[in-house]
């Protein structure tokens, strides 16, 4: 694990001539750019999402890279989804799903998980209106 990343960045640089699209969160630009995540937030709930989940579910996160294989890459980042429910989010976090490990209550409390779910269901709620 420790050493794979450098290789990968070099490899991606080699196979892409044009600057890669950022939209799906799985592409990086070249050997010296692009794995840097946007760690910013506009609300307390979003900040909590960034702190607890962003490492895997924002740009170039493990979750984003794998989800891009299973759905349209432009919705591989959870914050781009408009079909998430609080129940699905809670189950995925507590039971794990695919390669995602279970998240303990010490790492993310039930109350924090509810706030993260509120942030991630914003699009779905907007769509329902």
């Amino acid at each position: 694990m420790k050493w794979v990343v450098l290789m990968l960045i070099a490899a991606l640089a080699g196979c892409s001539d044009k600057p890669a699209a950022k939209a799906d969160g799985t592409k990086i630009e070249n050997a010296f750019h692009g794995a840097l995540q946007d760690r910013s937030s506009k609300s307390a709930d979003e900040a909590l999402f960034v702190e607890k989940c962003g490492m895997c579910h924002r740009q170039m996160g493990m979750g984003t890279v794998i989800l891009a294989r299973r759905m349209k890459p432009e919705v591989a980042m959870l914050e781009a989804r408009d079909d998430l429910t609080a129940a699905l989010i809670t189950t995925a976090a507590r039971q794990g799903i695919g390669n995602m490990p279970r998240i303990s209550r010490a790492e993310v409390s039930d109350a924090q998980l509810a706030r993260i779910a509120a942030h991630l269901t914003t699009n779905a709620q907007r769509k329902a209106k």
């Binding site: 450098l6 080699g14 794995a35 840097l36 490990p101 998240i103």
Partner: protein, 508 residues
């Protein structure tokens, strides 16, 4: 094993009942999600104190009721057992709620609690615009302190994380609290600045051990350099491994190269960015046609290595010339320069300390629920020995039908042959082969008197057993220390093959 319910009541009274987690979901949350049989190392419960004082209270109760605790910092030690204990039924002591960070920006040091992850520390430094860089591992989700204590590695010249530890605060197995190095003097301002202290130095005794619970860890951080320069090398042939190592190692020994270049094979990129089914439907080891297709797609050699220099431009440019000269006239497939200078936009990769998690995607190589286990023997840094090690290991991968996935990391005086054996945990046949191959690999290393630097909870006794000088004298010493510090055997029984007296019969 059964734990006296009175112990849980006492834990709850000490740290709050919400922080004592006893249900089935809690037990599976701390199991090894890379394991085919998660029950094998399933903990009995988890407790999560928020301070060193609460840890001390927990440890005193554990002694009273003979409760084996398995301390974790954040529990992301994937490939080595994750959060799970060696001994089934142990109670996880989860320190992930302890997240204090104290940075000394001027001196380039940090004092972290165990719950601080690499992303947390990165965010902390960025928010305050402190020009210090992290050295991150490929899985930066984990704990800064936990990774250093398990002797994890990163990409920069600060990549030997255990070597950058400077001062610890430790709760001992009897609940006493100690600070090491200069921290042993109350109020001493050099705790994070001077490593040895006075008399014996204790920091390394708490690495990969079960002699205490680290509640604070001092670490040196790299001041942001003026420039980063280097080359990405690709090598076409399998046999290029030997001379490539022999070309780089003299510069590593002299200190011209200060990070640990890691030369690895074509599967490193393919396993992260793609799945196996995208290349072949064939179940056996990948054939030359597939290897060629992967190499063409990613434009890589059989082997690849990145070398980087950090510092003032005058120095990195001169170093680059020395490196280039060393490779003059040698059959390199390609050699691509890389450069970042202060003032450029953030370059955004682990070589400049940006935390990442995407390398973990290689657990999905076989599709479905996957994982990996690390096999990493240490050998002298010589090309012919590396070639020999490669050939023997490669033959075992072929024999057991697994995909070769390995690298050789060049330390100042050693090579660490890091293998990540990638598997599908739902394929029982494959899991049987992985276990058999792992044992064959350890036996092969032992036959050459090579030892591993780190291992999975399943294999701690196996690997500890391979350190056999004078009929396992080191293990006897470790266990004498264990018995002296932890007579009730409450801290991490079995960690690194070190068992407390009462449980030595459990050694596998």
């Amino acid at each position: 094993m059964t734990i006296n319910p009175a112990a849980y009541r006492a834990f709850a009274a000490a740290i709050g009942k919400d922080n004592v987690m006893l249900n089935d979901d809690d037990r599976i949350a701390y199991s090894d999600h890379f394991a085919a049989d998660e029950a094998k190392h399933q903990p009995g419960a988890a407790i999560a104190p928020a301070s060193a004082e609460e840890v001390r209270a927990v440890v005193r109760i554990a002694n009273q009721y003979q409760v084996p605790l398995w301390p974790i910092s954040r529990g992301k030690n994937f490939g080595y057992g994750g959060a799970a204990p060696v001994m089934k039924g142990s109670v996880i002591l989860d320190l992930s709620r302890m997240k204090k960070i104290e940075v000394d920006a001027e001196n380039g040091t940090v004092l972290v609690e165990p719950g601080v992850g690499f992303f947390d520390l990165y965010d902390y430094l960025q928010a305050r615009k402190i020009p210090l860089w992290l050295s991150v591992p490929g899985n930066s989700w984990g704990s800064v302190a936990g990774n250093a204590l398990d002797r994890g590695v990163g990409y920069t010249s600060y990549g030997d994380h255990a070597a950058r530890i400077c001062g610890l605060e430790v709760v001992l197995p009897d609940g006493d609290l100690v600070r090491t190095g200069m921290g042993a003097m109350a109020g001493n301002p050099s705790w994070q600045l001077y490593k040895p202290g006075f008399g014996p130095s204790w920091d390394s005794l708490f690495c990969q051990s079960n002699f205490g619970i680290v509640t604070k860890l001092g670490l040196w951080l790299m001041p942001e350099p003026e420039s980063v320069q280097g080359y990405d090398f690709e090598f076409d042939k399998i046999d290029d491994l030997g001379w490539a190592i022999d070309t780089i190692m003299p510069l590593r020994r002299e200190g011209v190269i200060q990070q640990s270049p890691s030369i690895g094979n074509w599967l490193r990129s393919a396993a992260v960015m793609t799945t196996r089914q995208q290349w072949t439907k064939d179940k056996g080891p990948l054939d030359e046609k597939v290897v060629t297709a992967i190499r063409e797609k990613f434009k890589i050699g059989w082997w690849s290595v990145q070398v980087r220099f950090y510092g003032p431009a005058e120095i990195t440019e001169a170093s680059l010339r020395v490196l280039k000269k060393a490779f003059d006239g040698k059959p390199v497939l390609s050699m691509k320069p890389a450069k970042w200078t202060r003032g450029d936009p953030p370059e955004g990769s682990p070589v400049t300390g940006v935390p990442v998690s995407f390398p973990l995607a290689n657990a999905n190589w076989h599709g479905g629920r996957g994982g990996h286990v690390g096999y990493s023997p240490v050998l002298p840094p010589k090309g012919d020995l590396a070639m020999d090690q490669f050939k023997r290991t490669y033959d075992l991968y072929q024999k057991y039908g697994m995909d070769y996935h390995a690298s050789f990391a060049m330390g100042e005086r050693s090579l660490t042959n890091v293998n990540q054996i990638l598997y599908d945990k739902d394929n029982a046949d494959m899991m049987g082969r992985v276990d058999a191959m792992f044992r064959a690999l350890v036996a092969d290393a032992s036959a050459h008197h090579y030892g591993e630097y780190r291992t999975h909870i399943d294999y701690m006794d196996l690997v500890a057993g391979s350190y056999d000088f004078n009929n396992h004298a080191l293990r006897r010493l470790n266990e004498r220390v264990k018995d002296a510090l932890d007579p009730n055997g409450v801290i991490a029984p079995g960690k690194s093959g070190i068992w407390p007296k009462a449980l030595r019969g459990d050694r596998s």
